[in-house]
């Protein structure tokens, strides 16, 4: 499959999305989610720098990996266990800019946690987005557990677990892949390899070049994909989804990508990476890259682009305004929901 993708691209790329079974509308939808994810994120930094909100953690640079993979799922049927960068994933699956901003401002209406968790800790049982905590890699086992439940009930729902390459160092990552391999579960492991765990470069995290190479040790395929090529990610995920849905078992997809911002608003990335390196990767920004493709393919015309920009801006404006003015939780909201129902 990988060879085929390369071929299509070489032919000028004008029909890659159609070759993947994506209609023009769907191809544009992918683009719009990427744009929205980026725009919400940029707005958050702005607000944070103005001192109106204490914390941002970004998806910027990784939208290709996120949206490309999530768009290969059936929303509300399939499951995801995202990590804190995955704004692109959850927006693709039904969360809204308002939801993001409500969580960013930690308001009572925040659907993920009612303002209890930091931004980036997504969750919605309705949307089949598993709640995420901060400890990395735990969600890989949760995803395997979700897939196990589907298997027991003989349902063909697919589950994707998302994680950074840093999280791959945790024991839970090994354990999840091992179990998924044994039982050929319908789970896909998507590693967004952005080369750093906060400041620690990949070379200090592992002795290998590709996280995907580990899949062989668990008895299922590992695939390396250019994470900044949203269609390549879509293709790899679509293939993995087919495997998963038909009982052939897990796939580990490693999407090579980069984060454009510091680790979070509390980090200063100049302490550990060169401005030149960031600049080089900015050239590979997945959004302009896909934009060029869509333009060349004749799908993204000026008016379409303008409409998208307008919708995105409107959503971000609306979400910001709505969320900033939404009510905080009150002190009475501190105690409830330790348990499903409070004990009598």
């Amino acid at each position: 499959m990988a060879t085929k993708t390369a071929e299509v691209e070489a032919r000028g790329g004008q029909s890659r999305h159609r070759a993947l079974g994506l209609s023009d509308e769907r191809a544009l939808a992918i683009y719009e989610v990427m744009r929205l994810a980026r725009a919400v994120d940029e707005r958050m930094w702005l607000i944070n720098r103005q001192g109106r909100a204490p914390f941002v953690i970004s998806c910027q640079g990784q939208e290709g990996a996120q949206v490309g993979s999530a768009m290969a799922l059936k929303p509300g049927y399939d499951w995801v266990a995202p990590y804190y960068r995955d704004a692109g994933v959850v927006l693709a699956l039904g969360m809204t800019a308002r939801d993001q901003m409500l969580s960013f401002f930690a308001k009572r209406e925040d659907p993920s946690s009612a303002g209890r968790q930091m931004p980036g800790h997504f969750g919605s049982q309705r949307l089949h987005i598993l709640t995420g905590g901060s400890p990395v890699a735990t969600q890989l086992l949760h995803a395997a557990g979700i897939a196990l439940a589907s298997r027991i009930r003989k349902e063909d729902a697919v589950t994707i677990a998302y994680f950074g390459e840093g999280a791959s160092s945790e024991g839970d990552c090994h354990e999840a892949m091992n179990f998924a391999g044994i039982h050929k579960l319908g789970v896909i492991f998507v590693c967004e390899n952005n080369g750093y765990a906060i400041s620690v470069p990949q070379s200090q995290q592992m002795a290998i070049l590709n996280v995907a190479d580990r899949a062989a040790g668990y008895g299922f395929p590992g695939v390396v994909v250019d994470g900044n090529d949203v269609l390549a990610v879509y293709q790899a995920t679509r293939d993995a989804v087919t495997r998963a849905r038909t009982g052939e078992g897990p796939t580990l997809i490693e999407a090579k990508t980069y984060r454009f911002t510091a680790h979070s608003s509390d980090d200063d990335d100049r302490r550990y990476r060169q401005a030149e390196e960031v600049a080089v990767w900015r050239q590979k920004d997945p959004i302009p890259r896909y934009q060029r493709y869509l333009r060349e393919a004749g799908v993204l015309t000026e008016p379409v682009e303008a409409a998208i920009t307008e919708r995105v801006t409107a959503q971000v404006d609306d979400a910001t305004e709505y969320a900033e003015q939404a009510p905080d939780p009150s002190a009475d909201d501190l105690l409830p929901h330790v348990f499903a129902r409070e004990l009598g």
Binding site: S113, T138, L141, D172
Partner: protein
Amino acid sequence: MAVKTVIEAIREGMDEEMARDQSVFIMGEDVGQRGGVFLATDGLFKKYGADRVIDTPLAESTIVGLAIGAAANGMRPIAEIQFADFIAPAMNQIIEEAARICYRTNGDLNLPIVIRAPWGGGVHGALYHSQSIEALFAHVPGLKVVAPGTPADAKGLLKSAVRDPDPVLYLEHKRTYRLIKGEVPDGDRLVPIGKAEVKRQGKDLSLIAYGLMLHYCLEAADTLAAEGVEAEVLDLRTIKPLDVAAVIATTRKTGKVLVVHEDNPFAGVAAEVMAVIMEQAFDALDAPVMRLTGPDVPAMPFNHVLEAAFMPSPEKILAKARELAKY
């Protein structure tokens, strides 16, 4: 009503819940073909198949992590940790995930998970097959912790734990498995989580315990009675949420309380019981609340002399209770 052992009661409880509810399934090390190292799941693999009685790889974080995911997707997993002593690899999944998920989602997702773990000493299990872990987990908000002592409570609490919407750590005392026999009511009888039970009435002093220590306290109470001291024995059964009302009631009744557990004392369950009494029944005390616990050493040694020196016993309880009675 029939007489059963604790382990039979637990097995029966699981069997009935699995028969009743298709979403209940079991996961753990050696729980399948082998029926568990204590045979707690004996026969269930044959009866319910490999899909519902799953032999996991040797990995406790796996067991609990899978349980969380499966519960999020509509199942009611019973996760077996082979020995309580081996639960620590799963602590991140239990404490940081299972216990916090209902709260962190503001109630959007609750996790009906039972984590079963054989605990306690007196079985020549040495440092790593004798541990008491209740204080570590009871400290963590978001978990329920039960520790039944009798076959009837073991079955009734197992069934309640399976039906509970939240993560329940179900502690089964290894030494009681085959040692303790008792009547178990027939049919679908639940024992509520969060309710202690007075297992023996008394007016002179109160012994508060759970698990194996319940039986040692009852034994000590018999001797005390012969000496003219009527000891009330309160079986906590559930450690978290603690039945504070029952603790305060027995304190107000007798004015003298001795708390007994195998776990070491520092910030243990006895300390919490003492704190609660301090806060809510200080005026009712005729003596300081006392505790008799395992020593503050890392765990129970293998050698039989050392093991006996470590374990609270009916004799040690008696000695302390006499001291309290005389106060």
